[in-house]
């Protein structure tokens, strides 16, 4: 029997409930509780205009904000996950994820310019099985590092991930080794890699390419960690301190270079790219 549960998620806002005009449609900010219009939210790069809360953002929205107009070219879109292990329910989950995200897989890869600086880019997708890392995600990111190494391009990677894609079992784990090896080759070629950690970045992605950036940036208040907070609380049988595993916590403990609000990311990334121009590059 085809499982239809989860195929249709409940409406998240007035627009999805059937409204037609974005004007006047409101969301409630989960942090400050203030009601904001969808157009206000979108004008603010999906952040709350009152408290600065960063809502999750789709890869294509990030491309539209970060890259210069008409410079982004998608790569490796043909790579997609499949149910290698015959895991019950996985095919259906993939179909649902494709409907929910309108993407083929959990990461968008390509090349584009940021203020005229060319870079290879990847953006993990929170609406595709919460950015879980399976063979297709690992393959696309690996190919991107190989591609960028071949052309001596910097890589900028936006991470968001609930962790491994359990339905692909050990093959999901192997993606950590595969992506790390490609990243190392790119790095050994003297090429720059900047990772940008967004909410949430956890599990196997934290324990591989998220934490391997030459420079590691994070969005404010993003949850970043290896183990989930609930698992840790169960393990140590203690309440975790406020702010645990937030970007600010990682900054304090020395695991993040800078916290950069979304509105400043384009300028910050462009500045870092310019500072890493290779000698002999045409200015």
């Amino acid at each position: 029997m085809v499982n239809l549960m989860g195929l249709f998620r409940s409406p998240q806002n007035e627009l999805e409930k059937g409204g037609t005009e974005v004007e006047g449609i409101r969301n409630v900010c989960p942090r400050c509780g203030v009601s904001i219009t969808l157009s206000e939210q979108e004008e603010n790069l999906n952040t709350c205009p009152h408290c600065g809360h960063h809502f999750r953002m789709s890869p294509r929205e990030r491309v539209a904000y970060l890259t210069d107009e008409d410079t982004f070219e998608e790569l490796f879109e043909e790579v997609r996950g499949r149910d290698v292990l015959g895991f019950p329910g996985y095919e259906q989950k993939l179909r649902n994820a494709r409907l929910a995200s309108r993407e083929k897989e959990g990461v968008l890869c390509g090349v584009g310019d940021i203020e005229g600086e060319k870079a290879a880019l990847f953006f993990m997708d929170p609406s595709f099985m919460m950015g879980s890392m399976g063979t297709a995600v690992g393959e696309k990111i690996t190919r991107l590092f190989e591609y960028a190494a071949g052309l001596s391009l910097p890589v900028i990677g936006y991470t968001v991930s609930g962790g491994a894609r359990m339905q692909e079992g050990i093959l999901s784990l192997m993606q950590m080794a595969k992506t790390s090896a490609a990243l190392k080759r790119h790095s050994d070629g003297g090429n720059l890699y900047i990772s940008v950690l967004t909410d949430p970045t956890t599990g196997g992605v934290t324990a591989s390419f998220a934490m391997d950036g030459d420079i590691i940036l994070a969005e404010p208040d993003a949850t970043v960690g290896f183990a989930g907070a609930r698992v840790i609380e169960q393990t140590i049988r203690k309440k975790l301190p406020q702010g645990f595993q937030k970007a600010e916590f990682l900054l304090e403990h020395g695991f993040v270079d800078r916290i950069v609000p979304r509105s400043e990311q384009r300028a910050t990334l462009a500045q870092l790219l310019r500072l890493h121009r290779k000698r002999g590059d045409v200015l």
């Binding site: 292990l85 895991f87 019950p88 329910g89 063979t135 690992g138 690996t142 491994a164 359990m166 339905q167 692909e168 079992g169 050990i170 093959l171 999901s172 784990l173 192997m174 993606q175 950590m176 080794a177 595969k178 790390s180 090896a181 490609a182 990243l183 190392k184 080759r185 790095s187 050994d188 599990g203 196997g204 934290t206 324990a207 591989s208 390419f209 998220a210 934490m211 391997d212 960690g225 290896f226 183990a227 989930g228 698992v231 840790i232 393990t235 140590i236 203690k238 975790l240 301190p241 645990f244 595993q245 403990h253 020395g254 695991f255």
Partner: protein
């Protein structure tokens, strides 16, 4: 035997732990401690030993021999300093041209407050990165539980072997059942679906070889020693470039 029976065997108390393999396969073992940054993690044991005449850097996860020892060793769940000690000893092996042999047996990297504060994810990430380009041969043997990233941090190797009753998985079957089906009791189903047995690993190309186990582990120690006597000279004969190219392709296929 069901996949879950294998899980129980891999976790069984009487099973030889990491140190037994080091002590029974090698001679002249001298343990070296500490990550030079924060602490010494007893969940990972490392040092130098000899396989016949060949000096080898050896590493293992150690779950402990009795209750007191198990508590001291955090039941074989390493903290970041354990992975950093392992990396220090691997880089030392690279400097002196010694091969590295790892025995992997952990339910996973420790999920604790201090582990997160000290960068558990970063420590594992760094090991994966550095192991992918370590210029000496690395052989890893899964001898019990191969628990996710915490196991992989010692298993990015030129040869990965597994014992008959060991397992290797991206998440524990309990974790899988509780996340996917919100029902930790479906652990048997989860173990089956996840494909975590030695045979599964061989079929998926994750390991090169399965080593049989008997009640008396002596035969397994001997078989592993014989296999290392064959594999290490072969790997040492390769140029570092060829060795790294082969290791790259080994993991690139997945």
């Amino acid at each position: 035997m069901s996949a879950y029976d294998k899980v129980l065997l891999a976790r069984a108390k009487g099973r030889p732990t990491g140190l037994s393999y080091i002590e029974n396969i090698f001679t002249d073992f001298i343990e070296l401690h500490g990550d030079r940054r924060f602490a010494d993690d007893p969940a990972i044991v490392g040092g130098i030993a000899r396989l016949d005449d060949l000096p080898v850097t050896v590493l293992c996860m150690e779950k402990g021999s009795d209750t007191k020892d198990r508590v001291r060793r955090n039941f074989g769940s390493p903290n970041p300093e354990g992975y950093r000690k392992a990396l220090r000893l691997m880089k030392q092996a690279e400097k002196f041209g010694r091969p590295v042999v790892c025995f992997v047996d952990t339910s996973g990297a420790f999920c604790g407050l201090g582990a997160e504060e000290r960068g558990q994810g970063q420590a594992i990430a760094e090991n994966l990165l550095e192991l992918s380009s370590l210029r000496v041969p690395v052989v890893s043997v899964l001898v019990g539980e191969g628990g996710s990233g915490g196991a992989l941090a010692l298993a990015v190797a030129d040869r990965v072997w597994i014992l008959e009753n060991a397992i290797y998985s991206v998440i524990s079957p309990e974790g899988c059942a509780s996340i996917l089906w919100k029902d930790a009791k479906r652990v048997r189903d989860a173990a089956e679906c996840m494909k975590l047995t030695a045979e599964d690993m061989l079929e998926l190309g994750v390991v090169e070889e399965i080593f049989p186990e008997e009640k008396d582990p002596t035969a397994t120690y001997e078989a592993l020693a014989a296999a290392l006597r064959e594999a290490l000279p072969q790997l040492l004969a390769l140029s570092p470039q060829d060795l790294l190219e082969q290791r790259y392709r080994r993991f690139r296929q997945f």
